[in-house]
Symmetry: C2
Subunit: 298 residues, 2 copies
């Protein structure tokens, strides 16, 4: 159960975000309709919209506005969605279901799914750079750099690579930590930090968001591993136990369920502590959201 304030904030924000994303991917003509349809299919499939919500709350917690943060929020959701489309491909995790629906390549074919991912990734940077044309501050430029760093071979792409390498092989705790931090953690961290940057946050505030983001990212990924074992298809909207099926090492398989739950708890506490400095109402919503993620069932 979340408070009325948080659930209202989430409902309002997700509605506004959805409208903005719809506008971002409008277009397409007789020859390229298919790739627009494919982007739309995955971007509008719902989901928690966690990353953009974190961006917006971080901006508000630092005294900024939603309007200044939205381009980064939209971009982060596009990057997250592209990564799901590419990760689901037959050459990667080969998943048939995502968010309760067929995966992108199952509906549109592999070629279009690859292009839809490429299109969303590129559009993310187009949306952010348009904001920068209007408002070319060093902090906004830094925000794009932070997102690019977190999404690419110093972050998410590198985490997915390490994850692929780990399939069907022994894995060390160091390698697992590398995967969890890079594959999920970095982008969640970038969501918070880019929100802070869009609000002109101080170095101290940015540092707190960075540390909180790392902790949230780790907690979130381990919770995903837990749900892959304990969840149900109805709750998750994707095939269960697919990590196990792919013989993919997870925090749960390496350290056991009890330690996994303990780690989620500890990382969440670490995040809450860092976020304690944001004493306005948005800071409180951010902390409440954090806590709700620990108990999530999807």
């Amino acid at each position: 159960m979340v408070s009325r304030e948080l659930s209202m904030f989430l409902a309002e924000t997700i509605e506004e975000l959805t409208g903005r994303l719809e506008a971002d991917i409008a277009g397409g003509g007789p020859y390229d309709r298919r790739v627009f349809d494919a982007m739309h299919y995955s971007l509008m499939a719902g989901g928690k919209r966690l990353r953009p919500v974190l961006t917006l709350l971080a901006a508000l917690a630092c005294g900024g506005t939603k309007d200044d943060a939205y381009p980064f929020a939209e971009a982060l959701e596009m990057i997250h969605t592209y990564s799901l489309i590419h990760d689901d491909l037959p050459a990667m995790d080969d998943d048939d279901y995502r968010r309760g629906r067929l995966t992108n390549h199952k509906v549109f074919g592999e070629a279009t799914a690859i292009l839809a991912g490429d299109g969303l990734l590129t559009l993310a940077f187009e949306v952010m750079s348009r904001k920068l044309v209007q408002d070319p501050t060093p902090a906004n430029a830094k925000a794009i750099a932070v997102v690019a760093h977190a999404a690419g071979v110093h972050g998410m792409v590198s985490g997915q690579m390490a994850d692929m390498e780990a399939e069907n092989s022994e894995i060390s705790p160091e390698q697992l930590a590398f995967i969890e931090i890079h594959k999920t953690g970095k982008l969640i961290q970038a969501a918070l930090v880019s929100g802070g940057l869009s609000a002109g946050a101080s170095d101290e505030e940015l540092s707190a968001l960075e540390k909180a983001g790392e902790a949230i990212g780790i907690a979130f990924q381990i919770q995903d591993d837990i749900l892959d074992v304990e969840g149900s298809f109805e709750e998750l909207g994707k095939d269960l136990g697919s990590d196990h099926e792919n013989q993919k090492a997870t925090y749960v398989s390496l350290f056991g369920m009890e330690k996994a739950k303990q780690a989620v708890e500890e990382e969440t506490q670490r995040a809450l502590q860092e976020l304690g400095r944001f004493q306005n109402s948005s800071g409180a919503l951010l902390r409440e959201l954090m806590l709700s993620l620990v108990g999530r069932r999807k």
Copy 2:
């Protein structure tokens, strides 16, 4: 035959560019080495480096510096390389050779090739945004927006989609024009315009670069179609007649060889006329480069 000035400029520039690209993709550790190796394999496979050379010459022709233009030049080469990696994938054009070597997925596997493409695309925006952190001008922000627009679903991605849709089906002259302009033209145009923007070019200069870029892009793509019929493996480093094999409509198959050669000639003249306004030595090199592209054999 090109002049001593142009061949010296190209040799010097390609050496410097290669060094910068090497530095950009340095990194990788025990868990993600493979994706760095795969990016290196394709980015360092040589090639004409046409797009970055156009960016640098456009910047110099507008009175700017190489240093200010390099981040955009590097980014354009990364984006071009990522597009080749993804286009060669089995789900797309399914090509085994590129630039005389096995294609990326033939060496590293499909999953890594997809990730290497994603990594290069993201790194392109990281390199450009780092420049913007140092030098947050509206023109530099505009340059990123122009590149993103040209690379994504309003440009290259959309052109590749239309190209895939055209396989094994009748194609109209309008659809072919859409493909040629979007798949190749837009990024070549963005190479020139981003170079001009990095140099603080005037609106008139930017407009001339935009028009010249469109003409060069069309001429370049039609010349590619001609070479796919007339070239040899030794010259091209890739399988011959692959367009014909894929039953892909090209300017040559639709209008015949004579009309194709005439179109290359006309578009080149159009580009030369637009570039006539740049009267310094770099403008002259740019025009000479243009002319050399018409007679190219690879």
